[in-house]
Chain length 472, copies 2
């Protein structure tokens, strides 16, 4: 039999199938938590080459790990260290295949960087609303594989809701041509949504047809503050009633987050300096109305919130520059935390009605066991998604604190689960949460997932060891 | 072994497990196209009883056909005539289990009639936007099983997009507790969307957690006319840009539809009597702005359409009564057709950019082969969904025309398929389109669907003979 690397080279060309050095960045995840080894790193040129590579690997029972921009946080795109797998990078599948403005759709290949997709939409006067911190390097394929969320879910939904059709290479190396640009199609089982969010374990997404939206004419930003968290939830409801789909962001930040930003980025804005409150939210109102009309509507809602005693303070950005400065605060939050030393990150979601209980209860549980831990709590309140990060007590070193990561996470996840929440809102499972998942999913649900995996990838060759443990 | 009927009675009580008379309406579909026979008709009281019934049937390898309001058009809820199946009516599972206004969710059982769900939402000042002609008798379970579309998809999506969580009884009679009220949850495969739209063939949906929305403050209606269909498509784009998510309906009607309405309902409105155009659209603009503001916005968009020469005429309803009269036209369209004699109905969808080509091309193909056939073309233009109905030539009897149903449908479906469209936009497959489906789905996609069916219902006991043919 031809050696695998030679056979791969026959399919994609010598240059694009290599045996990578052990320190290649593709073999580790972004935070260098996981490291893998592989038989080959392959960079196919198009869907046909992807299919040929997968077919070859299937015939030889070689696992295939697919990787996009390698920006994931769960180790979902890092191969294991057995050295058996082929790592498939889709960066060369980066074409925008079609834009249909009458249908408000765009068809794009999996390796295309998210920001390029946003720009292609903007160039035809449309919005592709998916937006996340890593948009300059993450790829659409990764966004689809993890059903990425981000900043615009409140109005536009997750990646899943933005997707109309897919092209997928199956575990056997066949190509499913499902690139439909249809808003309504009820002709059988929903394969599309099964592949979205399956983290490369059921099939390899090579292209997608995505929804486009009108570009909002006006966008306005406000920062508001709350005396208690329940008032933020009540004001979210009031703002949704008043602004409907126009409410495109409702980002919560605790006072500790604001304080941290002020410490780490002293040149940034310092809103409400005289009156600190425990909670803040950054709101965006997008509208097809004129600036003047939109501003009047937004002001009315803010005034209503103040009058009803839900808001302590409200600041409507008076210029584009002021608005950008406020959003920069939110964007700097990851860096501000990093500068202050590592902390324990949690990406959880809850029914919005349970958020205040969660924060109170989980804080108490953590203080009881890990006295003095500090919280950086922020997130997409409108989606029920909190980034609930736990930092070291001031009388303890970062390293000593981090030794308790698993125990702290268990308290956080148990608490979210008990209130009907999820242990992974937008980051997926990968390898990092794989072994804790059975604590929160019923044996029946895991069994149904395993049966689907078995049906679509009977030899467990697609991204093995991610999401689920498959008994061999 | 206890006879099946007795065993069923032990589980649900004597009253609720019966051997139905052959002429019971549950044994036929709404249009009496299909008739079935069963071993028993069972009406469980709750999810536990559904599970017990399904488990019993699974043990004895007895098929189970689930039925909601029995308003489907594809025979999807009618058992076959083998007499082997148990027919499961879910009408007693009709509780609204919970409403959470802070989370904007409602949890409801499958047997609840859609209109009651709408009313329950309205009672707490929220909108549950799913809305269809049969809303007074169809049930949520049926809506979920068929991923029902209807009148508000343009803004709010199909039933799938309105669903956050499900409770499902599996083929083995286990209960999957998936009633999550989360906007973001990425913890494994998307079982929810797999069950939605699977027409009772993969599991039995017993309850769902659904999204609620703010009630629009203002709703305005307009009727507009177009000289050519491409202008309707262009105006849809303009209206989306101008009204964004506020554009909640864009319903197309051909001049022949309007003529038919005028004939059959002469007391109804007669818009633009001096200037007939070939195409009309009924638009709805929903807004959280005041009546005055919303009207100014809507008028500006209509004026823009007139100025750009896209619209021939525009009529903005000046009162609630006038708006209702215009919507009544749309609602009367089914009855108007029925009064004029049977015709051939097609529920297709297309990329919106292909709609004008489709109508022109399909009309030509049909005239070439069935000279003189007449068209009642209408539908949800904003979703690319046409109800493309073909009526008898005036020199031919209805019966003679209807003899060509299969041949006409094949032309219509082939034409939609060739342009990237679907043969079933919102009515599903059931038994009626099951055997034509392989003409339009690739063998690979059908194979993937069969593997999933095999994985979740290995003995083919759930609604057998619907959607797919499973070789025994």
């Amino acid at each position: 039999m031809t050696p695998l690397l030679d056979a791969l080279r026959e399919r994609v060309g010598e240059r694009y199938a290599t045996l990578p050095e052990a320190d290649r960045p593709e073999l580790s995840d972004r935070h260098r938590r996981y490291h893998g080894r592989v038989q080959a790193l392959v960079r196919p040129a198009d869907t046909a080459e992807v299919a040929a590579v997968v077919k070859l690997c299937a015939e030889r029972r070689v696992p295939v790990v697919v990787q996009g921009g390698n920006t994931g946080l769960m180790g979902g795109a890092t191969p294991d260290d057995s050295g058996h797998a082929v790592l498939l990078r889709l960066d060369r599948l980066d074409r925008i295949r079609a834009i249909d403005t009458d249908n408000d759709t765009l068809t794009v290949e999996a390796g295309c960087v998210l920001q390029r997709v946003q720009q292609a939409a903007q160039a035809v006067d449309r919005l592709f609303p998916l937006s996340l911190g890593s948009e300059g390097s993450c790829t659409l394929g990764g966004n689809l594989a993890t059903n990425a969320g981000g900043n615009a879910v409140l109005r536009y939904g997750n990646t899943r809701e933005l997707t109309l059709g897919l092209e997928v290479v199956t575990a056997e190396g066949e190509i499913w041509h499902g690139l439909r640009g249809l808003r309504k199609d009820n002709t059988g089982y929903d394969l599309r949504d099964l592949y979205v969010g399956s983290e490369g374990t059921l099939g390899i997404i090579t292209a997608a047809t995505l929804k486009l939206f009108p570009l909002p004419r006006t966008r306005l930003t406000a920062l508001v503050s709350f005396a208690v968290l329940t008032q933020a939830v009540a004001f979210l409801s009031l703002a949704r009633q008043g602004l409907d789909a126009g409410l495109t962001a409702f980002e919560l930040l605790s006072a500790d987050c604001l304080e941290l930003l002020h410490e780490q980025f002293p040149e940034g804005p310092n809103p409400f300096p005289e009156r600190r409150e425990p909670w803040y939210a950054l709101l965006e109102f997008s509208s097809s109305a004129t600036q003047g009309e939109a501003q009047a509507r937004f002001e009315a809602v803010l005034a209503d919130g103040l009058e009803q005693g839900l808001l302590s303070d409200a600041l409507l950005a008076g210029s584009l520059a002021q608005s950008q400065a406020l959003w920069l605060m939110r964007e700097n939050l990851s860096d501000a935390q990093a500068r202050a030393g590592r902390n324990m990150k949690h990406d959880i979601s809850l029914p919005i009605s349970q958020i205040a209980s969660f924060v109170e209860r989980t804080g108490d549980l953590l203080q009881a066991r890990f006295r003095g831990v500090r919280h950086y709590t922020f997130g997409h309140l409108g989606d029920g998604n909190l980034h609930y990060n736990v930092a070291h007590p001031l009388d303890q070193s970062v390293a000593a604190h981090m030794a308790h990561y698993a125990a702290v996470s268990e308290i956080v996840h148990d608490s979210a689960h008990a209130l009907g929440g999820s242990i992974s809102a937008e980051h997926g499972i990968g390898q990092r949460k794989r072994d804790v998942l059975p604590r929160y999913k019923s044996p029946l649900e895991l069994e149904l997932m395993r049966r689907i995996k078995q049906a679509l990838d009977p030899h467990n060759l697609l991204n093995p060891g991610k999401v689920l443990v498959i008994p061999s």
